[in-house]
Amino acid sequence: MNSDEMKTGSPQKWRFLKPLLLTIPMALLLAMTLTGKEKPKDPITLMAVIITWVFLVTLFYLMMSTQKTNRYRAIFFSTLAVCFVFGFITNLIEIRGSMLLKDADMMAGETPFCHLVLPFILIPAILTKTIIFPGSLLGSFAPVATMVVIWLGASLALGRGWCSWACFFGGMDAGFAQILRKPPIKKIDRRFTLLPWAVLIGMALISAATLSPSYCEWLCPFKAVTEFPEVTSSTRVIQTVIFFTLFFFLVVLFPILTGKRTQCSLFCPFAAFQSLTNAVNVFDVRIDPEKCVHCKKCIQLCPTLSIDEESLARGRALLSCTKCGKCVDNCPKQAISFHVKGTEACKRAILDRNLFLYPAWLFAATFGGGTIAGAIARLFKLITTGSLF
């Protein structure tokens, strides 16, 4: 067997056929989930859906044929983030006329709900049986119930893999982290990886005390590229300054300088909360101690600082692992692999990888596919009609 055959475990003649066979079910499933019940009647939308489908199926095929996970996942992930921001802002401008969230919109419960708020509505929901978020439970755009159901599904399928496969915000700092091949800041004090837990505890307590989603009101950097409350008071000025400052530093500057996803690994409270789901999720990342030569490349490359010397010695990534696959792709000895809990670790790496990739890609592509198709459709409209709306 040559080196490629060694890597994939398949003889040369199966090289194209096997990944193709593995891709066909995914292609069919994605065709169903992207089109919904029927084919889109509008030609622009139809074209956007076809392009999205081809894009997603091609990436999956490449993942299967090259055995590289992170390389193609990262393309999808950053595309999703860009399309989300573009689609969301144009949608807001179409509906509201601007990115500004007015008090009247909040009073009417028309604020779109995002998963980052989830940990902060739990305690008040238990205590007061009310959702402390100015959105609607079922109706309108991005209702609370829909996001909760999606989050539950994602947590079961991916655990904290959500943060590298489906989070429409995560692709932003992940994208900026890829810009420099050799980032100037090499070392980050690992104590800062505890900060998301502090933000989670602090904001959950403040939310329970004030019965308001404090993280959204004060600290969410993604407000800068989605929607933020209309500036009508000195408090709102301070809040808006905080949103933009945090976005600039945590999502743009620090990722470029460090090559790490600083917002996701050093600040995001939802990331800390989602780490807990890794404890119950069936997939994790394992390190084979027999193959590992302690080159520490994985420690150096992990974008969320989820492998340290201690975890290397234990043979598994930390609870904060987002299953992005970067360490798996780059380990020079193929000592790192995806793993299904309850089975023997590092012995059936290809099978376990496929078992992980199917639910992960199906969920990510289904959840993100609509966003990508929507953004492409908007672009087509702009090209053909000269207007985004």
Binding site: L127, R191, L194, L195, W197, A198, V199, I201, G202, L205, I206, A208, A209, T235, I238
Partner: protein, 255 residues
Amino acid sequence: MAIIKTTLSPRDEGRRLLCAEIIKNKEIKEEEYTSMSSAPYIPIQGFFLGLSSGTVCFFSCAPVLTPYLLGEGKKTGGNFISLIRFMMGRLLGYLLFGIIAWEGGQTLLKFLPQREIFFGAVFIILSLFLAAYGFFDFRTPCAADAAAKSSALKFIRAGSALFPALLGFLTGINLCPPFLMALADSSNTATLLGSTAFFFMFFLGTLPFFLPMPFLGLLTRFPRVRMVGKMTAVLMGAYYFYLGMMKCIGGMKIQ
């Protein structure tokens, strides 16, 4: 003997009548109390007010107490001692308010600007303590603790023991919504004993809600919990500092 007649202006006359009315009301209340004083006065409504609004009270104190308990990294037993100290400080704050309420609780509520500045200052002091707690370790090392003979070490030891009480006191004198209700209710009682007893019973009513807190000690099996607690303390410090500043600025604007 000549009788000197003094004439009062209508404004002074009004004041005199108001004072007379207040004294009369107070005398009536005291008479009522004296007639009942054969039985001990227990303001049970204070207890029920505390019991019914304990959740709100708990979540007003939890942003201060939780980071402290996590940051100490003590086991459940140690946390119970810390909680007792915290609650003692809180009780002291309540009793202080019991006295103020007896003296003129309603009047206190009327002086809005000064009240805002006062409570803003309390928040700022609290924030500074929380930030200091987050950034510095005030505990003496084990070896030094055993042989703590120098006055500096003794001071640190006493300080670290009193610290939860201080936090409790500073949170105890904050005006959370149930506390305002208690203040309004207790100011109707005629005597100092009645007013402080009302606040004591209110405190007892809120007590059960705090009892699960020491079980945060179960988290000490995770080695980094202390650091998370310290970081949370700094974050909470920033939050209270902002609240304090806004209250002070608001109070100054009203003035």
